[in-house]
Every structure is written in structure tokens, then in C-alpha cells.
Symmetry: C2
């Protein structure tokens, strides 16, 4: 069941965003789904930031409850689940792209790919469309 | 002193964003500075989400340390401080606009102004420029 602002601290859209992903971990899981092609629990667990298993389970459950991701059985392995972005989750792409570009500008040690930054500066709409087309093939 | 990713969990740009504002409160303070014209401690404290004074003081200090805001004496009242977005803070505008539009799409009770959403759909670049021009007059 997707929450809306009647359950939240205010009806402000920035607060709605904060209530969905305002913590130290959720955006990293969304990043893994959106940009890294990760689909399985063990893949998220293996990311550089070393999320703990109990926090990961909690964040995946909340993202599912909030309608941002779905969880389904893996057709290739009945003992595993596949996590996917819903349309609501995919719609966070422009915000994620803007956050990435902002961080790349202000973190001298960023690992943001040069191709990303070049496409962001010269053809942002094209960059967004390229990522959207990847969603269709997942 | 501005942090960069050498102090952080990874060099990922999304992680850099999370380390800057990945919590339940920081984006609300940035919202107040960016969209609501709030400049004083007591103004942030009065926002709908009812931030506590110790959390507010902590988040303002972290934003200052991270180079996202500055704190200066209020020329109109020597006992007060004025908080302002730095260039780094102002550069979060496109990400904030995208988050706002996303929330407005998925929260049926959003209080996002209709003029904002109309401008977002028809002239996003113009909307961004309008907010940027407001920064210049602060």
C-alpha cells in the first residue's frame, strides 16, 4: 500500500520525498537498481557502502510498501527474489541524475563516469531517455 | 571545511548526496532556504514538520561544515544570525525541483502549487531560472 501525505508530517512535496528516501541507505539501493543493474538481495549487500543485512531488509520492505519497488520470484532460481523499480521508482530517475551531477561537481574524488557528465552537459534529455530505455529491457 | 569522498563510505556520487542530506530533516531546511525565503533559526523551527531545536542546530552546523550554507550576523539584529545557501547549496535547485515534481505526481494530498507544476511541465528551464533569480535578490 502506497503512503500519501495524510500519514506524514506535512503535505509538502519535499517532505514526501524525505519520508520515502530520507535516510542513509535507501538512495543507495535505488542507485543499485537504477544504474547498476542489480536485482538480487545479495547484490545490494555487496555494494561498497557495506549495508547490513537487517537494514537492507528493512529498506527493501519499506520501498515495496511505498510502491517504489516490487519483489517477485526469480524464474531462474526459485529460492531467490528479484527486485525491480515500479513506474513510481523509475520516475525518480531525473532527481537521481540531478543529484549525481551535483555530487560530481562538488566532490573532487567522485567516481561519476566522464561519459555521464558529458551527456548531462550536452544532452540531458538524451541521457534520461537512454536510462529509461534500459528500464524497458529489465 | 567541505567534505569530499575521501571521508565517506564510497566515491559514489549518490553516496555523496546521501552523506550531505540523507536524513529526515536536512532537505526540509534546504527547502525553507530555497523556496520559502526563510533565513532565521526561528523560521526553520516554525515549519510544519516541527523540527526540534537540537536537531535543527545540528543540521545547520553540518550544512555549514559541508559548505552548503553560510551563517552570518543579521545586520538588522545583532543578536540573530542569517543563514544563506552557498553556490554549492543553490546548485541543489534542479535536484530539489525534480524531487518536488516526483512527489507531486505520487502524493494525492500534495500541497505543491499548481503554478509550479504547470511551469515544470511546460518550461522547466524557465522555472529553474526564476528560482535562480530569487537567489540573487537574497
Amino acid at each position: 500500500m502506497t503512503k500519501n501525505s495524510k500519514d506524514l508530517r506535512s503535505n509538502c512535496p519535499i517532505n514526501f520525498a524525505v519520508e520515502t528516501f530520507g535516510d542513509k541507505w535507501t538512495l543507495l539501493v535505488l542507485r543499485d537498481l537504477m544504474f547498476k543493474g542489480k536485482r538480487h538481495y545479495s547484490d545490494f549487500l555487496a555494494s561498497d557502502e557495506k549495508i547490513s543485512t537487517n537494514i537492507l531488509a528493512d529498506r527493501l520492505q519499506k520501498l515495496d510498501e511505498n510502491g517504489v519497488i516490487t519483489k517477485s520470484s526469480d524464474p531462474d532460481n526459485a529460492s531467490k527474489f528479484i527486485y525491480s523499480l515500479t513506474e513510481k521508482g523509475q520516475a525518480l530517475l531525473p532527481a537521481m541524475v540531478e543529484m549525481t551531477a551535483w555530487s560530481a561537481s562538488y566532490d573532487s574524488l567522485t567516481n561519476t563516469p566522464a561519459e555521464f557528465l558529458n551527456a548531462y552537459k550536452t544532452n540531458k534529455d538524451g541521457l534520461i531517455e537512454m536510462f529509461k530505455s534500459q528500464f524497458k529491457h529489465q
